[in-house]
């Protein structure tokens, strides 16, 4: 038992350090990733704006990402930023394809 106690302490300490270490490493890494993901989403949404075809849900996802990042929840922030980018790209695709496709709906 006397051998077990120090070992247990060491294990617990090691676990604690590993956890703290990995958490802080993950936070730093995720924050960087988040910033890149957010910038990409914002750029895509700006392009949709240039095409006069932004979607409300993209703005909502961007806002959600920012809010989560402010709270330090970078996993959530990252996921929302990626969603925002996907939505913005879909709106760009729509605007681009509709440049000709609208004619298919025309009454003639």
């Amino acid at each position: 038992m006397s051998m077990t106690r120090p070992n247990t302490r060491i294990v617990l300490l090691a676990f604690a350090l590993t956890t703290i270490g990995s958490t802080s490493a993950m936070a730093a890494s995720t924050e960087t990733d988040f910033k890149a993901a957010y910038a990409a989403a914002e750029a895509a949404n700006n392009e949709a704006g240039r095409l006069r075809n932004q979607w409300t849900v993209t703005a909502e996802a961007l806002a959600d990402a920012k809010k989560a990042a402010e709270k330090g929840d970078f996993d959530h922030a990252m996921a929302s930023a990626r969603d925002a980018e996907a939505l913005a790209k879909a709106s760009i695709f729509q605007a681009t394809s509709e440049k000709e496709a609208w004619k298919n709906l025309e009454i003639r």
Partner: protein, 288 residues
């Protein structure tokens, strides 16, 4: 809506659209705009789709397509919900600005009975001028601040001007000017272009599905759709301008609306009014 679900919806809508296009005839309309032919085809489409609706009745929107709604509307018209707004508009219209002039001084015939001529193409500016825009420009020219395009005062003013024009047929002109034709064509393109996460165009509701239900609403036909503007909407609990209607439509399909009186909206109003030429002004109107 949660974003992943939103993305799935977006993907599904776009895939559906792609499938729909694949099934459509490959022939597309000629790129050279022909407003006269467009208006004729537009009218024929609705008259053929709804053979029992008298042409002028399309100005009454969903009431022309649904008997029950029509009966309720006729009863409501005995004490119309837009009456207060109409009175307010009349007073505003007559009240002089600080410089002693009034709205009437900015318009032909002192602004009475002219709604059917708006919007018009201004060759000097090379752009479409809507009635709402003209009213704010009148204010600006007389040292008054602009009114919001989506709030009660603008709706009241346009309600009064529409009321003095009731029964007069829309008479929108496209002058012999390539810029006017371009504005018309831009309006047409906007009308048929799918947008928003729901992948709807104006035509999705008002050409492909008039008379059908969208949740609790019966969709109005595009023919005559602006004739009853501005409208009192029970859903809004108040009056709404054309600007408000267009902005709301964009939001409902999860598209970010453009700024009020953006060129696109002005051109859209030009197109929709032109293809309804000959149908009577019926504003202000009331809708559920």
């Amino acid at each position: 809506m949660k974003a992943p679900l939103a993305i799935h919806l977006a993907s599904a809508a776009l895939a559906l659209a792609a499938t729909a296009f694949a099934a459509m005839p490959s022939a597309v309309a000629a790129d050279t705009p022909d407003p006269v032919a467009d208006a004729k085809a537009f009218r024929n489409y609705f008259v053929t789709k709804f053979p029992n609706v008298p042409l002028d009745d399309f100005a009454n929107g969903p009431y022309s397509l649904n008997e029950d709604m029509r009966r309720q509307w006729e009863e409501k018209e005995q004490f119309p919900p837009y009456e207060f707004s109409l009175e307010m508009g009349k007073e505003m219209f007559a009240k002089p600005f600080k410089n002693g002039k009034s709205y009437g001084d900015c318009f032909p015939n002192q602004g009475i009975g002219i709604r059917q001529n708006y919007p018009y193409f201004d060759p000097g500016e090379g752009k479409v001028i809507t009635l709402e825009l003209a009213l704010n420009r009148c204010r600006g020219a007389n040292g008054e601040p602009p009114l919001s395009y989506v709030e009660d005062e603008m709706a009241a003013l346009t309600a009064y001007m529409a009321f003095t024009s009731r029964g007069k047929p829309f008479d929108i002109k496209i002058p012999d000017d390539p810029r006017a034709l371009e504005a018309y064509q831009n309006g047409k393109r906007y009308f048929y272009t799918r947008r928003g996460q729901l992948n709807f165009s104006c035509a999705t509701c008002h050409v492909q599905n008039p008379g059908e239900r969208m949740r609790a609403e019966i969709l109005a036909p595009a023919l005559g759709i602006l004739n009853a503007m501005p409208i009192y909407r029970s859903e809004w609990g108040g009056m709404g301008t054309i600007s408000r209607r267009m902005i709301t439509c964009n939001s409902q399909i999860r598209g970010v609306p453009l700024e009020p009186q953006a060129d696109e909206y002005r051109d859209l109003e030009y197109y929709l009014s032109y293809v309804s030429n000959g149908l009577p002004i019926a504003g202000p109107g009331a809708r559920p």
